[in-house]
Each structure stands twice: as structure tokens, then as C-alpha cells.
């Protein structure tokens, strides 16, 4: 086992710490910002809120922005006629482990200008919160739910922030985090018992697949009143 791998495993063993202990330096050197017109304009307009710019994978421009201003910056990127990043291709996240901040990644594409841009927000592990971009791109709804489900990043002002891939009553944490054990936190017997105890009828109702049907107060009602509401809604 090489030292590099061993260090990585040791870091896994210890689990994450708040990122103030380490300086998570940018992985690639600062690139020439004039290669990409949107990046140059971003630096010009937002100045110090654009923390870093790099080029990866032979031409993919990545900018790191301040997490507190992500909606402001993304709104400008979407609406400015010079840039028009009207397609949000993906929202995802990266956990590098060892206490490094979790990166929330927005993959943008501008159909009018044929231009791609990747925007990252670095969130320290003790403050995993960022504003939702659902008001800008509706497709972010499920993508942000996925990031919340698997990484535990909370998106403020998200209309329906709950788990999407894991069962709704999953109690073992957020599986794609580096400190998550591969086989889960519970024993296999407990996992099997919990899986079979799921309420299938409630979980796979047709409304689960319906978008824009005021879902959040219909799903998983806790009280009999909420059950009655659901029944009347189905009748109408």
C-alpha cells in the first residue's frame, strides 16, 4: 500500500473535521481568465466574490464563488444577455474527505452562446448550507434533493427538501460522505428489518411522481387529520 493511499485511509478513519484545521488550497493553478468571456465578466462584476478560476479536463472552466452569493451570481449568469446560461445541466457535490469542504457544483450551459461553465461553492463541514437555485431553474428541485439526500447539504428556501433516493425514513446518515462506512451504519439484520417495515402504500402513491401538486403537505402525513386531507384530495 502506498503512503498516499495509506494517508487517505487514515483520514477516512478519523472522519471529517471542521475545515478550519486545514487550508484546502485550490487543486489547479489560476488559469487565464480571458480565455472564457463569461469568466472575465464574472471577475469584472463580482470581484472578490469569485474566489478562484481554473481549467480542468482540457477546456472545462471552473470558477469557485462565495457560497453566500451563489444565487446572485447565478441569476446574473442566467439573465445577462451576454451570457445567458439558460440550461442547468447538473447540480451535484463532491466530498474530498479528510475534513476538506464539500463542494456544491453547478454545471451550466448557455444554449444561445454554446458555452459551458462550472460553478462551485465550497461549504465547510460545520456550515453545510447554501441558498437553493430552484427559483432560477426548476430542474434544480430534484437535483438539490439528491445532494441533500446523499451529502447532507441543506438548501435554504427549497420548496420540498426531503430524501429522494434513499428511503424517507433512512436513519443512517448521508451515504456519499467520505466518513460514511461502505456497508452502512446499522447491521444487515437491522437494515433488512427497517426495509421491510417501510410503508409501501404511502411511499409509492401516484402523487409521488406528480410534480407541482403541492406535494409537501400530502406526503407522509403524521396525523389522522392529514390522512383525512389526503382522502378528500383524492376524491375531488
Amino acid at each position: 500500500m502506498t503512503d498516499h493511499v495509506k494517508d487517505g485511509l487514515d483520514a477516512l478513519d478519523e472522519g471529517p473535521r471542521p475545515s478550519d484545521a486545514i487550508a484546502p488550497g485550490p487543486s489547479a493553478p489560476e488559469a487565464n481568465r480571458n480565455e472564457h468571456p463569461s469568466v472575465a465578466a464574472l471577475f469584472e462584476r463580482f470581484g472578490r466574490s469569485v474566489v478562484h478560476h481554473e481549467v480542468v479536463s482540457g477546456g472545462q472552466h471552473v470558477v469557485h464563488v462565495e457560497p453566500g452569493r451563489n444565487v446572485e451570481i447565478l441569476t446574473w449568469l442566467r439573465d445577462d444577455p451576454e451570457h445567458r446560461f439558460d440550461l442547468l445541466a447538473d447540480v451535484t457535490a463532491v466530498d474530498l474527505g479528510g475534513g476538506a469542504p464539500i463542494q456544491v457544483v453547478y454545471q451550466l450551459f448557455s444554449i444561445p452562446h454554446r458555452r459551458a461553465l462550472r460553478v462551485k461553492c465550497l461549504l465547510p463541514l460545520d456550515a453545510l448550507e447554501v441558498d437553493s437555485v430552484v427559483p432560477l431553474w426548476n430542474t434544480a428541485n430534484w437535483l438539490e434533493r439528491e445532494v441533500y439526500d446523499l451529502f447532507g447539504v441543506t438548501f435554504r428556501n427549497h420548496p420540498d427538501l426531503r430524501r429522494i433516493l434513499m428511503p424517507h425514513d433512512y436513519a443512517e446518515g448521508h451515504p456519499l460522505r467520505k466518513d460514511f462506512p461502505l456497508r452502512g451504519r446499522f447491521s444487515r439484520a437491522e437494515q433488512t428489518r427497517r426495509a421491510l417495515a417501510q410503508d409501501v402504500d404511502r411511499f409509492y402513491i401516484p402523487a409521488e411522481r406528480a410534480v407541482g401538486r403541492e406535494p409537501q403537505e400530502v406526503f407522509f402525513p403524521e396525523s389522522p387529520e392529514a390522512d383525512a386531507d389526503e382522502a378528500t384530495r383524492d376524491e375531488t
Partner: protein, 229 residues
């Protein structure tokens, strides 16, 4: 009272003793077994529960090159109510486990189950947090088909083994073979000790498990918020 009450395995005669004896094989019961089993084994309707690449091979088995209709699997029954054999083809995540269990519970007796492929039989390479480690912890399995995925010949061989199993059944064992506890619905098929014993870490998971301090095997098994009453 018609013939039904006198047949072994039907009505009450298997317990109280009817015209045909109290459950031991006789000339009449063996001939009746032969006829009934001949009918059952040549009209097995599969319930396809295909979740992954094994389902592609299952479809290939049903298509004209291999054509399991030749063996009496004339019709893929997409309703569990009209199915005889459940073919679980592919990996089953924990989120899908109650669905598989419900489909099995909905199938009428007599019924059989095939676990097709490595993932359904043991979890396969997916020794991870989200995957059922063998569907025999969820439903009783009659035949395991190894392979990743198995070829259609392997599936057909598995189905023929089910047919062989049916051929050896006897109506005098009806109550033992068809015993099903209604209270076990939506409960794990295996006990907790069996599940933990059968699903130890292997390969890469062993190292991962050591790193995690073994919590995946022995760790905090009991959650604080118990969803079941």
C-alpha cells in the same frame, strides 16, 4: 361431500384420514400426484421481477431463440395473482425489498422462487449500504442461478430444476410444503443472526469495514426511532 373432501391434501382428509389414507403414499395418491404435478410443472407461469442486466437475459430466454414457452412458461405473468414462479432477476436495493416481499405475498400457492444471478443470490459485488445481501433474507428461494448475468441456458436449467422439484412433490405433503404464516408478512425471512452471519464483509468491503471500525457488522444495530410498532 364431494371428492374434494376425500383427497389427501384437500379438505380435511390429510389430517383426519379419508378414503385415500392419512397421508402415506398409496396407489391412488401416487397416480394423482403424477397427474397434478404433470399439470403444474408444464404450465409454470413466471412472474418476472427484473431489476437489472439479468432481466435482459430473462427476456432473451423468453424470446424466440431460447423460447421458454417450450417448457410451459407460456406466458410471462405480469400480475403476481396469476403467477407460479417468481424470477427475481437482478439486484434488489433495500428500498425495493418491501415491494418484492409484497409481490411474493400476493402470489397464490403453490408458488416457487428463482433467485437469478449473483446479485439476487448474495448481493454480488454490491456489498454496500443500499443493497439486499441475497433475496433469501426476504423471500424463500427454491433455486439459485449463479452467473453475472447467467446465460439463458442457465435460466432454463433453473426452471427445469423447479420442474424436477415439482415432479417429486406429493399431495400428501401439501400442508408441509404450502405452510405459510400470515403473521410473517413483511417480516424478514431470515432471523437477525442468520442475516448477520450470511452477510459478512468480503473483498474490498473487509478493508472498508475495518476502517469504519466494524460498525457495518456489529455496530449500533438498534436505532433510536423505531418505525415498527
Amino acid at each position: 361431500m364431494g371428492v374434494k373432501g376425500d383427497l389427501p391434501g384437500g379438505g380435511t382428509s390429510a389430517r383426519s384420514g379419508g378414503l385415500l389414507g392419512t397421508g402415506g403414499p398409496t396407489f391412488l395418491t401416487t397416480k394423482l400426484d403424477f397427474v397434478v404435478n404433470w399439470g403444474r410443472r408444464n404450465s409454470l407461469w413466471p412472474m418476472p421481477f427484473g431489476t437489472a442486466c439479468c432481466a435482459i437475459e430473462m427476456m432473451a430466454s423468453a424470446a424466440s431463440n431460447y423460447d421458454i414457452s417450450r417448457f410451459g412458461m407460456e406466458r410471462m405473468s405480469f400480475s403476481p395473482r396469476q403467477a407460479d414462479v417468481l424470477i427475481c432477476a437482478g439486484r434488489v436495493p433495500y428500498k425495493l425489498a418491501p415491494v418484492l416481499r409484497r409481490i411474493w405475498d400476493q402470489m397464490p400457492q403453490p408458488k416457487w422462487c428463482i433467485s437469478m444471478g449473483a446479485c439476487a443470490s448474495s448481493g454480488g459485488v454490491f456489498d454496500v449500504y443500499s443493497m439486499v445481501q441475497g433475496i433469501d433474507t426476504i423471500v424463500p428461494v427454491d433455486v439459485y442461478i449463479p452467473g453475472c448475468p447467467p446465460r439463458p441456458e442457465a435460466l432454463i436449467y433453473g426452471l427445469m430444476m423447479i420442474q424436477e422439484k415439482i415432479r417429486q412433490e406429493s399431495l400428501s405433503h401439501h400442508f408441509e410444503l404450502r405452510d405459510e404464516d400470515p403473521l410473517s408478512v413483511a417480516r424478514p425471512r431470515a432471523t437477525a443472526e442468520e442475516i448477520v452471519g450470511l452477510t459478512g464483509p468480503f473483498g474490498n468491503s473487509t478493508q472498508q469495514d475495518e476502517i469504519a471500525g466494524g460498525v457495518g457488522v456489529t455496530g449500533p444495530a438498534e436505532p433510536t426511532d423505531d418505525p415498527t410498532p
